[in-house]
């Protein structure tokens, strides 16, 4: 009898323990404290489609929806991926009432291109050769003051979706480019890196994808901070593959949010929005 009672008590204690300790309490937002510095709001969004059949690049018909989401959240700069043509950028800028200036990168070996939209009309744009693709960087100033001292650089990047080794090469090229910027520049790298860091999400366990992506991601975190880390998944199947990396100390994270309902039906990514104080 004593043994049964003891086991019952232990069983109940364990059930109560499981209810008492909430595993999600460990997750906390990145450290935030007030800052008087200027704020910069950045967005990244892969506006392509899911699926391998048909054209899975951005559709012209969705550009109004994309522009609507941008106007509602009012970011200072936007990194877009998977545009199908330069014309789409012009259409999008029109939908945005030309409040933003923008540019696209070269096609390179890919059939889709990246774009950056910036509120600062005097922004400069520069192509970055990364692996066999191109990324696009925009350098702009925050605020209307001509003497604004913060020069911000936003890179729009899109790494290979199917080959982790290519993602590694791409990542190292982009980071090396960022490392060569002057120290006064505050560099943010945004985009769809397609990193698969959770082995449980992999359908094939017998590849070195996790190892390659682990090294790519770890290499980025040597110099940058993953600002959207606690914002949740950004693409279908609960995958977090869209990132905004920022300087670890020069920027204080104020907000990181994935806008789940911003896209049009069929789009497989959600925009990631972060706000930092410089």
């Amino acid at each position: 009898m004593l043994a049964r009672v003891t086991l019952c008590v232990l069983f109940l204690a364990c059930v109560l323990g499981a209810l008492r300790f909430n595993p999600f309490r460990d997750r906390s937002l990145l450290g935030m404290h007030p800052s008087d510095g200027p704020r910069v709001r950045l967005m990244t969004w892969n506006i392509g489609y899911a699926g391998i059949e048909g054209d899975n690049r951005a559709h012209d018909s969705d550009l109004a929806v994309v522009a609507g989401a941008i106007l509602r959240t009012d970011p200072d700069a936007v990194a877009l991926q998977e545009l199908a043509s330069p014309d789409q950028l012009q259409v999008l800028l029109g939908y945005l009432y030309h409040r933003y200036s923008g540019s696209i990168c070269q096609f390179g070996a890919a059939d889709r291109i990246e774009a950056v939209l910036v509120k600062d009309q005097s922004a400069r744009f520069e192509d970055i050769r990364a692996g066999d693709k191109y990324s696009l960087a925009s350098t702009f100033k925050i605020g209307t003051d001509q003497s604004a001292k913060h020069q911000v650089v936003l890179v729009s990047a899109h790494a290979d979706a199917f080959n982790s080794a290519r993602r590694r090469l791409f990542t190292s090229d982009v980071i090396e480019w960022a490392q060569d910027r002057p120290e006064t520049d505050v560099v943010f790298i945004a985009g769809d890196f397609n990193f698969e860091l959770n082995p449980e999400k992999q359908s094939n366990l017998f590849t070195d994808n996790a190892k390659n992506d682990s090294e790519s991601y770890s290499y980025i975190l040597k110099y940058f901070r993953d600002l959207g880390r606690d914002a949740g998944w950004t693409a279908i199947n609960d995958r977090r593959i869209d990132y905004i990396f920022g300087p670890p100390e020069a920027a204080l994270l104020r907000r990181a949010q994935v806008l789940k309902d911003a896209g049009a039906p069929g789009m497989d990514h959600c925009p990631l929005l972060v706000e930092v104080a410089l």
């Binding site: 043994a3 364990c14 059930v15 323990g17 590694r168 449980e200 190892k211």
Partner: protein, 315 residues
């Protein structure tokens, strides 16, 4: 002696009953004896020795693989340096602690549960199959004492396996590769979200903690096997059923298609043991999943004990 009068019978019976203290002492004595007998049986069983021998073989294979991989990645013929300029796989990364970590994590999910299921599954069903269960229960020990002493041996064997395996890995790692800090990166082992590091002195203690958390997690498999061992009269049936359940849940839990089912599998909860190997252990999560494992262990033991206590032993 023939007792004819009621009063005499009562008096005589009362004088034959032991005092309550004597009952308590007698029960304790019985339990200790039972534990000694079970330990003797465990020590003499071939599967006990086999489990340690297989672990030694596994460590040898791990060592071979680890050494050739490290040589391939960091030696003179390293190809990755040309293809990928930035890698964390350096000579300091491949140290004895990293070796022990990989070896432990790879063996824990698919090797250790086999031995635990073998030992636990054969405890009751093995006696039934050998025809010794009835004889054993004729002795002045309760069925509960028999059951608990057998489970105590399962727990002991599980802990010895964990301690032996961790100790062996740390020793071999230290002798052949030396220690450095334990560097952890997101991805392959799924331990951290961002690169982290555990200092070598702390890391050794983390491995010591892992012997306890690993034992606790593996006892869920042990409790399932004990339950099956009570249900079936064949040890093979009990072991195969346990392993089938475990492997089925483990595989299903790995497939993204069944992601929504994953939280309901005990194999998911068992993963809590690795939390002590993280640079900053998530204590709430650790206690939550550790408690769930405890609920599985005690719940299954309670159910198995109840069935065993009422079971008609026919073998």
């Amino acid at each position: 002696m023939q007792l004819t009068e009621g009063s005499e019978k009562t008096e005589q019976s009362q004088s034959l009953l032991p005092a309550p203290d004597a009952i308590f002492c007698g029960n304790n004595q019985n339990m200790l004896t039972q534990l000694r007998i079970e330990f003797y049986k465990l020590r003499r069983s071939k599967s006990f020795h086999l489990s340690f021998a297989v672990l030694v073989g596994f460590v040898a294979l791990m060592l071979w693989g680890f050494y050739t991989y490290a040589e391939h990645k960091t030696g003179a013929s390293a190809r990755t340096a040309v293809q990928f300029r930035h890698t964390y796989e350096s000579k300091t990364y491949f140290n004895g602690l990293t070796f022990a970590l990989y070896s432990l994590i790879f063996s824990f999910s698919l090797l250790m549960p086999v031995f635990v299921a073998m030992t636990a599954g054969g405890q009751i069903a093995g006696e039934a199959r050998a025809g010794t269960l009835r004889t054993m229960l004729l002795r002045p020990v309760s069925r509960i004492q028999v059951f608990l002493s057998k489970f105590a041996m399962v727990a002991l064997h599980t802990y010895l396996l964990m301690a032996f395996f961790v100790g062996l890995n740390l020793l071999i790692g230290y002798v052949l590769m030396g220690y450095d800090n334990l560097e952890l990166y997101p991805g392959p082992l799924n331990l951290v979200d961002e690169p982290g590091k555990i200092m070598q002195g702390d890391a050794v203690w983390r491995f010591v903690y892992a012997t306890f958390t690993g034992t606790w997690a593996l006892l869920v498999v042990g409790a399932v096997a004990m339950f099956c061992s009570v249900l079936f009269d064949s040890p093979a049936m009990a072991i195969v059923t346990t392993l089938s359940i475990y492997i089925m849940l483990y595989i299903i839990g790995r497939i993204e298609f069944f992601e929504d089912l994953r939280p309901y599998f005990f194999t998911t909860d068992m993963d809590f043991w690795r939390d002590v190997l993280k640079p900053a252990p998530p204590w709430h999560s650790f206690l939550h999943y550790g408690s769930i494992c405890g609920a599985y262990i005690f719940g299954l033991l309670l159910a198995a004990m109840t069935i065993f206590d009422r079971k008609d032993i026919l073998t």
